[in-house]
Symmetry: C2
Subunit: 475 residues, 2 copies
């Protein structure tokens, strides 16, 4: 939860900013940073005009400053960082992409950083500290007040990408026997112990296990003497070690705004709020998309080395598997030499097989991520994919057969092409659904290695089918 | 905003349910429906055991009933629908995927439906009504109280997938001169005019333009005499015609919980809340992923016809473009007949070119969706892609060259393969970034037609380069 800091920082900016026009210029009607504004920043940096840089940065909200950093190259970022007001630094750090954040963290002094972190909720502060190298981390933690330091250390004790890391430890709590009036009095006096903004007051039993949640908007409307148990709702408990992708799916499914995070015994240890989850959803589905395109995840404005590292290994693997796949062609070299039309048909068959398998694969990966595929419907889904494969294969085979007759006036070649394509499309459907299912069953990410597996399979089968059938019925 | 109905419905279920064990059985530790439970439903339906079906359905929350429907085939869904308690029907309808919802809506009587809709917020009710056919829609609207009917009609007047459709018209409002005490008194007396659950009280000027938002959790803690303007925060206004994808991006960027929706003059007409946005984010990135895999978006448990319709047209287009691409091979038939090794190399070159272009494409589509790519960094990004392409191309060319020498002991063939692969990988980088940029500039969805364009280009260039180079240096 970083909304509060965000918005109050923005209010400060509005007071300070000398040219309100700059703000209008910075963002288009969709609140996206404009190219003109980025150019103004680059111009100012080129001229070494510090005051202008400060003015430009001051016109932006923290999320927009983070966005600006992504549009700049490393050199320009180094020019901008000194002009970020200290009180906004913490918020901006939480907004930056990992690779850019690491870069900025190297520039900022530990004492400045410690001061900035005090303004953040425990989850955001832990995220920032996690990115520091060992030495700097120790110095920053040492510079923090004991209470904040232990909150951050507790957060870091949970594994990355789990509910424990996603949650904030600041929670509004009340015992079961309280009335609305008692709850309001408590909230008024609690001060800093409460989150800056919250949506639910968790009602807990004496063992600190959540028994319900009273929405604040309901508390504010209820009579003071109403027992909290009367206006509370059931809660959806999140185990502290749950993967953040699961947490996001549950928030999406049940339309949750906040949920209590519990330890194995059921004790409440924090809460996850929906605004943290929004980022996770965007992140996780991007990861799947990039994985299906054979790209390892990298940050924004990554270095050239980073880009190459995220792609070249996959291309090399592809080269190796494809070399194996074309061995099917090498086996039938004589047939190809005799009937050169086969060389023309080979890429068509493999391209279509590939396309069909990736279609099935994408649908299956999505269904697995959404938990829409389990033992209850696996066989039905597989059967459906195979039947769809047969139908699509039939339709495409007729088209390719007709095309071959039109171009080559050769019925046998048309039959060969049709049968091979048919076989490849059906295999594409089968491998497209089985590969992600098998990977998931093995506890692997179904999006990550599936594309390589299905490409290899459809290529090999396509090549082999076309040439073997040709060898039997044509040569 | 449907959270309230959701949770209160769940509370009812908990009271009613005779076997609490069923609930534990229904969901695994990640709150996903278990295969065992789905099988129990299918068993009960097979036996025609109505009471058991009712019991099983009663053990689920609305979102889980919707999930269950997705696991069942159409016949089983028809068996389950009559056992859904009337008071839960509305909530379940909002949770169903479009294609399944249409099916269920056909079964339910207009009067029952009208009654169910009264329990929903205006945005959710409009969504359901929108799915009805003309005739049924009129009958349902006629059966609704005038106020609800006009709210739904107003919502339907906005275009699909805009902020106007996403927003709810129920909003908590206060004039600028009110104190916290006045606001609390108003909220206590307002009753049904307010949303069931809300997070911000919007402060508006006399022209109903939002000037700020007071978080409810801050209202509850402030002294009664505090002016609202003192505890309010700046708002991020959402234009009523903004695309829902943009709305989602803005919520993600600024970590918003709710935002006022305004007409062109600035008048407040409703609010979007983050729980509605969570669904949009998941939806939109899924759409991109499926588009990149050449699948038109279809709902869950789509019919066989639906599946074929979402995929076959893309495969046919692929067949046509690939037929054009292989014309490059047809031109050089003589060379292929003389050097059959070329037929073996062709698929390797095209597969790698394809893979490289899809990598670039996926990264570009993601960056465009996140608004991380604009005139300020276009040239830098293109230059970076091309340089990465040259680097990856060089590395891969050396590998393929070495492989060709190892297998064929032919230096000229190795040079041919290396040069062709190099050319194709560079073209792949260029087309992978230019295709989505050009489509975006033309106002088209960059994810939708790009894969076809890049596949055609890399295949054609790969084939042509390999064979033309071979014709020059080998034959």
């Amino acid at each position: 939860m970083s909304r509060e800091t965000d918005l109050s920082a923005e209010a400060k900016v509005a007071e300070r900013s000398p040219a309100p026009d700059l703000e209008d210029l910075a963002l288009d009607e969709d609140y996206a940073l404009t190219a003109e504004f980025v150019d103004m920043v680059i111009d100012a940096a080129d001229r070494g005009d510090g005051p202008r840089l400060a003015e430009l940065v001051a016109a932006l909200r923290p999320a927009d400053v983070a966005d600006l950093m992504g549009f700049l190259t490393e050199d320009y970022r180094a020019e901008v960082v000194p002009h970020i007001p200290a009180e906004e630094l913490a918020e901006i750090l939480t907004e930056l992409e990992d690779n850019i954040r690491e870069e900025v963290l190297e520039i900022v002094a530990p004492a400045t950083l410690a001061k900035a972190l005090e303004n953040l909720e425990s989850d955001d502060a832990a995220d920032v500290v996690d990115d520091l190298d060992e030495k700097k981390r120790e110095r920053v933690l040492a510079a923090l007040p004991a209470q904040e330091r232990s909150a951050i250390e507790a957060s870091l004790a949970y594994e990355d990408e789990t509910a424990g890391r996603l949650m904030q430890r600041e929670v509004a709590l009340a015992p079961q026997f309280w009335t609305v009036g008692q709850a309001i009095d408590h909230m008024r006096s609690a001060g800093d112990a409460l989150p800056e903004i919250f949506f639910d007051l968790y009602v807990v039993d004496p063992a600190m296990r959540p028994v319900g949640a009273a929405p604040v908007s309901r508390i504010v409307r209820a009579a003071r003497e109403t027992p909290l148990t009367e206006i509370m709702e059931p809660v959806t408990e999140i185990p502290v070690d749950m993967d953040q992708e699961e947490v996001a799916r549950i928030f999406d499914k049940y339309h949750l705004i906040s949920a209590p995070v519990v330890e194995p015994g059921g004790r409440l240890v924090g809460q996850v709020t929906v605004d943290d989850v929004v980022g996770v959803i965007a992140e996780e589905s991007e990861e799947d998309m990039l994985a299906l395109a054979n790209v390892s995840d990298i940050g924004r404005d990554a270095s050239m080395i980073g880009i190459i590292r995220s792609r070249l290994p996959w291309l090399v693997i592809n080269l190796v598997t494809e070399t194996v796949a074309v061995s099917a062609i090498a086996i039938f070299q004589d047939e190809v030499a005799k009937i050169v039309a086969l060389a023309v048909l080979l890429p068509i068959i493999s391209s279509l097989g590939n396309n069909a398998s990736v279609q099935t694969l994408a649908v299956a990966v999505r269904a697995l991520a959404q938990r829409e595929l389990n033992a209850a419907n696996t066989w039905r889904v597989i059967r459906r994919e195979v039947i769809a494969g047969i139908a699509n294969g039939l339709a495409l085979s007729l088209i390719i057969g007709a095309a071959v007759i039109a171009f080559y006036h050769d019925g046998k070649l048309a039959l060969t092409a049709g049968l091979a394509l048919m076989a490849d499309i059906i295999i594409a459907a089968i491998i497209g659904i089985l590969a992600p299912l098998a990977l998931e069953r093995m506890g692997r990410d179904p999006a990550v290695s599936s594309p390589i597996i299905v490409t290899f399979t459809t290529d090999f089968v396509g090549f082999f089918a076309l040439l073997a059938i040709a060898a039997v019925i044509m040569v």
